[in-house]
């Protein structure tokens, strides 16, 4: 029988990470992700792991860089303003082709913003965030169960593609409690990491973890190689959930907590005879472009439902390529739309779409 437990989303991430073989956690206190660090502080010393409260977000991400260089599974977590501080380190980690997991339990911004849920770090997460050409694998959980499942997936994908992964959650999913089935602790799939710094033992040439290439042709080559890898990730790792899309004439696109609200709106609309469905991106990078493009040839319009002033909507527009109208339903600053507001936006889209 499945062993269901009731957990907060933030705690589910922590326990799932430990079960995925992560034994090194570095963080700095910030609301609304604090439960994650508190859980790690309790558990890590009991399992011979590292919990370290760093002096800053910058130090924490650079500690992650250090552990990632040694080839071990490692993570940090923070919330929006703290993730901004981590961008320097994230760029170095991406530029050195190291795997790790970064958790962002988003809150409202910009600046100090607020402490209520938000999805307004979408651009930052999916378009790079720090300096230079790079991507993160970005996973968007929509339930406490997915907080756990996508944490494990994040570590696996990071190792597989030798690149950082980000769990882009929000304050709601982080704070709410739901039943969750946690995977048994498993042997980490042995990914060979011959590049790791572990000491040469005088048996091999020295390994160097580095993102500096002063020769421009060499740096260009490194960037092109990385983008070849990104193409493979885009081809193989886009994930999404499709809900009531079979006969849909309109398509709502939403992730995270906004997708939970949107699902209720879709069900309510169906009761009124409106043929609407939902595409819920589970990976934000790679974005499920093909699913959107396929839908674009069948539906009369898209509605992007986001807790931002309209960030994901740009990716929807790029994927559907101007075939049909794309409208926005948004609340920001920590406010969350109601299913009725989404339903109203669906009806407005129907009125405007030809």
């Amino acid at each position: 029988m499945e062993n269901k437990v009731l957990m907060k989303g933030n705690e589910a991430i922590a326990e799932a990470a430990i079960r995925a073989g992560c034994r090194h956690y570095f963080g700095y206190p910030i609301t609304p992700q604090t439960e994650l660090a508190a859980y790690m502080a309790k558990r890590m010393p009991k399992i011979n792991g590292t919990f370290l409260q760093a002096e800053s977000e910058i130090a924490a991400i650079n500690m992650v860089y250090g552990v990632a260089g040694t080839g071990k599974r490692v993570m940090t977590s923070s919330s929006s303003p703290g993730i901004s501080l981590k961008q320097e380190g994230i760029s170095y980690i991406a530029g050195s082709d190291l795997p790790c997991l970064i958790v962002n339990v988003q809150r409202g911004g910009p600046g100090l913003g607020g402490i209520q849920p938000s999805q307004s770090d979408y651009f930052q997460a999916t378009k790079g965030g720090g300096h230079g050409d790079y991507h993160l694998i970005v996973l968007a959980p929509s339930s406490v169960q997915e907080m756990a499942d996508l944490t494990a997936l994040g570590f696996d994908l990071a190792d597989k593609y030798r690149m950082p992964a980000m769990l882009l959650a929000d304050g709601t999913i982080g704070q709410m409690m739901e039943p969750v089935v946690l995977a048994e602790e498993k042997e980490i799939s042995k990914v060979n990491k011959p590049w790791a710094v572990t000491g040469t033992e005088m048996k091999r040439e020295h390994n160097i973890i580095n993102s500096l290439y002063l020769a421009p042709d060499e740096l260009e080559q490194k960037n092109f190689e990385r983008y070849e890898k990104y193409k493979v990730v885009e081809e193989n790792e886009a994930r999404y959930e499709s809900f009531m899309m079979e006969d849909a004439e309109y398509c709502v696109v939403a992730f995270g907590i906004a997708a939970r609200v949107s699902k209720n709106a879709v069900v309510a609309a169906r009761k009124q005879g409106i043929k609407v469905g939902l595409i819920r991106p589970i990976t934000l990078w790679p974005f499920p472009k093909k699913a959107i493009a396929d839908a674009a040839s069948k539906v009369k319009g898209f509605l992007s439902v986001e807790l931002s002033t309209g960030q994901m909507i740009e990716d929807i527009k790029l994927a559907e390529n101007c075939k049909v109208p794309v409208e926005l339903c948004c609340r920001v600053g920590g406010m969350i739309m109601s299913p009725d507001e989404v339903l109203g936006s669906i009806k407005k889209l129907m009125g405007g779409a030809k």
């Binding site: 130090a59 650079n62 260089g69 040694t70 000491g199 020295h206 160097i208 973890i209």
Partner: protein, 249 residues
């Protein structure tokens, strides 16, 4: 019979340092300590941003290149992951005493069991000679063209004194490499900073007073003399903190 050779833990790569720069001496002292203690196979070095940015090509052990100032945080991660390995950072004054001050102080106060080599030449060398946190009062640099005015630019940071006020760190010392006597003392001190790590004692930092003839605008010879006349009077040499010696004594 070979009477003088390159340390084994330096690679054959040609150093990029300017003529008369003392980085070469300090690289050699670090490598000699690694050789003497037989720890090359276990050593992992962390290179800074600054003149020594390419130190990862010069040390033969495993190396990691850190962002500006973050070497102590990166070294913390490595050491926590691999506590049996020997982890060291090699950092300049802008890196360690300005942008990386928080990482330096907190690695010290946690008494992270790492070895830190801090090269203080009172100037930003790699970017062409700007004022450093350790530039002396009145020192002319590209960004203090009328001399460092302590009224507007503040006073130099005395890292060894500052860190030795903390309860955490095991060993804090300052040495210089401007003459044979000082180099000999520097060699002993750097070796001790590595021995401390091997013996699990904790954070050991050696500040090395160094020269920058290019950006000081002096001949190598005059630069070495300038250390005696100006640097050492402001930055006195010696051991500032040695927890184990205190306990034993």
């Amino acid at each position: 019979m070979v009477v003088f050779d390159k340390p084994k833990s330096l690679t054959d790569a040609q150093l990029h340092y300017c003529p008369g720069c003392t980085h070469g001496i300090i690289h050699r002292l670090v490598a000699e300590a690694i050789d003497t203690l037989g720890i090359e196979g276990k050593a992992i070095g962390v290179a800074p941003v600054g003149c020594a940015v390419m130190a990862y090509n010069y040390f033969a052990c495993d190396m990691v290149e850190a962002a500006h100032g973050r070497a102590p945080a990166v070294a913390t991660g490595i050491k926590r992951s691999l506590p049996e390995n020997i982890v060291f950072t090699y950092q300049g004054d802008g890196d360690l005493a300005s942008i990386g001050m928080a990482e330096t102080v907190h690695a010290a106060t946690r008494n992270e069991n790492i070895t830190v080599i801090f090269v203080n030449n009172a100037i930003y060398g790699m970017t062409g000679g700007q004022m450093a946190p350790t530039s002396l009062p009145g020192q002319v640099t590209q960004t203090s063209p009328y001399g460092r005015d302590v009224k507007t630019a503040g006073y130099p940071v005395k890292i060894a004194e500052l860190l030795s006020a903390l309860d955490g760190p095991e060993f804090i010392a300052r040495v210089a490499v401007n003459n044979v006597k000082n180099v000999k003392q520097a060699k002993k001190t750097i070796q001790k900073a590595f021995e401390n790590q091997i013996n699990g004692k904790g954070f050991s930092l050696v500040e090395v007073i160094s020269s920058c003839p290019t950006n000081w605008g002096m001949t190598p010879d005059a630069a070495l003399k300038w250390i005696d006349d100006n640097m050492i009077p402001y930055y006195p040499l010696g051991v500032f903190k040695d927890k184990s010696a205190k306990e034993e004594g």
